[in-house]
Symmetry: C2
Subunit: 307 residues, 2 copies
């Protein structure tokens, strides 16, 4: 395996693969490192309807496979490996992986974010089969259905209000007896006749065979449990950006997201960012792809000056 690269891209989701296509086309020796499966979180979804360019719904795993092949067409190497450490030394980046050490003139960091999950029974099995982490993406699948939203913050309430335009009934399930969200969102939720709230409750398990059928809930005050039928359940308890490796190099906000401008550059020389590690990104494939392209072109501008 080659040790020295022009560009190493950390993360093989939509942002990383889009960046890879452009770095490859700029004839840069480019390696993409992905610790899980190439394609990113979106490949867990059954279909995607909102990636611009496809009038009919498509299969996310196929879309992302095309993106990977498109990068390889331009000579990019895709490698499954987890980055353990990053170091900046003499105008070059040292990238430590499991059993190897690479160098790169520039880095595009697109390691994404992870949803907070409850980690209870049925959750991973039913993800994409009634259990969703994105109302913007999946609301149109729940026309005249009954859905739950888990959470009590701005995202949870925004998703509940969005879902109420499609679903017949939306139940917000919150583990406390008051909401954390903006007051204006709270008012709108309280006024919306389609939205009900179950207070002081947590989800003990997701029930259903091939798709979600019900949630097992427990009231934390009374201790009573019950099984309640639902067609959909939207997790909105937050996300965590994969930015631990960047701490020493760039400004992170209080939640760990990278603060940057439209160039997608950072204060660290030769370090560019894209996708869901960025503050203000709204977790859509098209946004991450666009940012991947923008980061790759900023990266190319940087490399061209070193040539």
């Amino acid at each position: 395996m080659e040790k020295n690269w022009d560009v190493i891209i950390v993360g093989g989701g939509p942002a990383g693969l889009a960046a890879a296509i452009y770095c490859g086309r700029a004839l840069r020796k480019t390696l993409v490192l992905e610790k899980k499966v190439f394609g990113g979180q979106i490949i867990n979804a059954d279909i995607i309807e909102n990636y611009p360019g496809f009038a009919e719904p498509i299969v996310p795993a196929e879309l992302m496979e095309q993106m990977g092949k498109q990068a390889e067409r331009y000579g990019v190497v895709l490698e499954n490996d987890e980055v353990a450490n990053l170091r900046r030394e003499q105008n070059s980046w040292q990238i430590e992986v499991y059993k190897n050490l690479y160098t790169a003139k520039a880095l595009v960091y697109a390691a994404g974010s992870v949803h907070r999950f409850l980690g209870v029974s049925g959750e991973s099995e039913l993800l994409g089969r009634g259990v969703s982490v994105c109302a913007t993406c999946d609301a149109p699948f729940f026309v005249e259905r009954k859905v739950a939203v888990l959470g009590g913050g701005d995202t949870a309430l925004s998703e509940a209000l969005h879902l109420a335009k499609f679903a017949s009934e939306v139940v917000l399930i919150h583990r406390r007896d008051q909401l954390r969200a903006e007051k204006i969102l709270q008012e709108r939720v309280f006024k919306n006749e389609k939205i009900k709230i179950i207070w002081d409750s947590e989800v003990l398990s997701y029930r259903g065979d091939k798709k979600l059928e019900a949630l097992e809930l427990r009231n934390k005050k009374s201790g009573n449990s019950e099984i309640v039928a639902f067609d959909g359940a939207f997790l909105a308890i937050g996300t965590i950006p994969n930015t631990g490796l960047l701490k020493n190099f760039v400004d992170l906000d209080e939640n760990g997201y990278v603060v940057t401008d439209i160039s997608l550059g950072t204060a660290a020389g030769g370090l560019f960012v894209a996708g869901e590690v960025i503050k203000g990104n709204r977790r859509q494939v098209a946004i991450s792809v666009g940012m991947g392209v923008q980061a790759a072109l900023s990266c190319e501008e940087y490399l061209a000056k070193l040539d």
Copy 2:
């Protein structure tokens, strides 16, 4: 024709159509106004290889047709009409078109930019047939060919250097006797053995039947003309953003581009921007699409607060 809309999108290129898909899916009554042909400038190109999601080259006109149909699938109306004037009145936008007046609660402004062209004989006929406005897009088509780059600024020199990685010979044609570009780019151009410069010269015409074969050049000092064979000619004499209508509402930089942050909002209430009107955008379909999605989601956040 309906007069009152939730969202009016100005511009039916990649940014506008991507925004339309998301506004439609948020169940907003959405109208897209395009003064020329839906799909934007990219439909002038024969193929596109760098829109992520397609391992094989595709036809841009077909990609953009899919994007238009995808927006219509969610109830968006696409209308050919030119915006003559914008006014902000009582929390609403008034959009004056040729023979009509619309209102909208929010605007997504994605009217794009236009390349400066020379306006000489053969230029429009051979555009996409050897005449190009984008080296990033088209350089790989000119492996071992002889190409011209017209211009003397940063873009022209960057494109010349990029093209030199593919072409056998790159000739920079500049109408002055010195370059305007950054010194580091000039040094690199002077050092590159593949790049030659023709000074003090302008292009009088593009020659060729079905594709570009030669340029007619005139030396402005001597007055002499000559015909020089080329396989490609890259125009790099600048772009002009279509932002005249925004002057009274947002901050524009000295070249007329909108200055904004990652949210793609503006100082004007309910006005969002996307695509090539934005300072720092690098004129790629994927970047404009990603920005269209981001602007639509910022717009939806704004509208949700008005509901």
